[in-house]
């Protein structure tokens, strides 16, 4: 039977939704236990939130002064120390999980699986390769399975559980060679791109940073998150943490609206799991129309304001 350790992602205040989706992947293994490890400076809200996730057996609260803004070099030895009691160690395939988990796997001397999309057996998984243009099925060798989970492929679990929270202190060699300095964020108060139901995205077709206000206006009308193609980020229209695609964020909203995005394969890799894709582009041959459920060939500078006007005004 499988015993799964899920590494929680949090910012000290809020448990990231990616943790819940990783628990969902853990449950797909049909495990006898799913423990969630919360690494923190002290007892915190994220540990309580993790305890409410359905299917969680225990929350292990690992307290250490170095776990305030922890870096991978500090977390990895803790993860590998805990891992020895488990058959599987899972973390979300976010920048957090991608940074920490390979380091922990190397300390354990095992391979790591990146971006699990589907669980086909206790050590058989499906994952995307070549920017999502192919899916590979792989079988991990005997030993602890260490893997990151493509969160867009799993639905968050309900929050009606009540697992016990156990405090743990680990004996590990805490390195001092890496210092966290600061984070500069840029969400602007809008929903998080990776958990939003609706995402409005703009590309090179917006032509300027100022014009992106049209995207923000529509997004606010829909209560949506804002995304962007690499071209829009490179042109300086928006900050890079809004980039959707192979090298940016992989998202799976119910509705994805793409304006002025041609649909390069690297971008499509980030939206393949979206429920409904709407594309507005003046080029009828843009590749985005090959994947769009609803396409409108037209000038986005006319469509964007007209669409905002046509929507119910009571949405915030």
């Amino acid at each position: 039977m499988s015993k799964v350790l899920v590494i929680a992602e949090h910012d000290g205040e809020t448990l990231n939704l990616s943790t819940s989706r990783t628990v969902a992947c853990a449950l797909a293994l049909g495990p006898e236990a799913v423990d969630v490890a919360v690494f923190a400076e002290a007892e915190n809200k994220p540990a309580e939130a993790a305890a409410r996730l359905n299917g969680v057996t225990r929350v292990l609260l690992v307290e250490h002064a170095a776990n305030r803004n922890p870096v991978a070099a500090v977390l990895a030895p803790q993860v590998s120390a805990l891992a020895k009691d488990y058959t599987h160690v899972l973390a979300p395939a976010t920048t957090f999980g991608k940074d920490v988990l390979p380091r922990a796997a190397a300390l354990l001397g095992v391979p790591q699986v990146s971006d699990i999309m589907r669980v086909l057996g206790r050590n058989v998984f499906e994952r995307p390769i070549y920017a999502g243009n192919a899916l590979e099925t792989i079988e991990t060798p005997p030993g602890i399975v260490v893997a990151t989970v493509r969160t867009a492929s799993f639905k968050a679990v309900a929050e009606t559980g009540s697992a016990p929270v156990e405090k743990i202190s680990l004996d590990f060699d805490c390195p001092t060679h890496t210092r966290f300095l600061r984070v500069e964020g840029s969400s602007g108060g809008r929903p998080d791109l990776q958990s939003a139901r609706v995402v409005v995205s703009g590309g090179r077709g917006l032509a300027s940073k100022e014009n992106f206000d049209l995207i923000y206006a529509l997004a606010d009308r829909l209560g949506a998150a804002v995304g962007a193609s690499r071209a829009a980020v490179d042109a300086g229209f928006v900050p890079n943490d809004l980039q959707v695609g192979q090298t940016g964020k992989i998202i799976a909203p119910e509705l994805y609206l793409a304006f002025g995005i041609s649909g390069a394969i690297q971008h499509l890799a980030g939206i393949k799991d979206a429920g409904t894709i709407v594309a507005v582009n003046k080029d009828p041959d843009a590749p985005i129309f090959e994947v769009a459920d609803i396409g409108l060939v037209g000038d986005l500078f006319e469509v964007l304001p007209a669409l905002a006007d046509a929507l119910p005004k009571d949405k915030s």
Binding site: D11, T178, V183, V291, L296
Partner: protein
Amino acid sequence: MKVLVSVKRVVDYNVRIQVKPDGSGVMLDGVKMSMNPFDEIALEEAIRLKEAGKATQIVAVSIGPQAVQEQLRSALALGADRAIHIPLDAAPQPVNAARALAELARRENPELILMGKQAIDDDCNQTPQMLAALLGWPQATFASKIELADKTATVAREVDAGLEFLLVDLPAVISADLRLNIPRYPKLPDIMKARRLPIETVTPEDLGVEFVPEARLLKVAPPPKRQAGRKVVSVDELVAALRERGLLS
């Protein structure tokens, strides 16, 4: 300062790959191969460090069959001082690539290892982190800015929440994100010159690498195709189509 840069030979990023009908992999015959784009960025950063007088020697390394020497020649043409080929029948998975690179690093003693954040074929995003772990060095992944001081580096990292800044002691492993720089193109005379430069071969046996079991590939399949959509001709029709799907109130 000696800088080690790893380069991987991958299918060119512009190629639309095709899955083999028997599900054994993707078609690679006659497909254009190139240096992994993130590795180009890592190499460019090393070259800029050399131009700024901070790096003294750039060593490019690649693991895999004879053909990877093509990418090592590109690295030499761009400005690497030496090239090392670790021959293997096929590119190893990250767990073993990191093991081989760790042994090479122990031999070469670089003060900085620059790598791409991920290879665009396997999309793993693991090797730099694993290498840093094996060496016990700091890691700064997804770097979009690197400022080198005497014994430290300040790195801006592209994380989901925005930009994270880390201060790491050297030696360190830093993996390059897209926005670290824009790589240059090699000049024709440099390409000609690089053809004559030696490429050192260091076998896994020379390095004493202990490989571990890798994941076994069972099948490769094309992703499920999305249903062909429909075109609408006006905003009103678009709104109606969204209402029909229950996506708008």
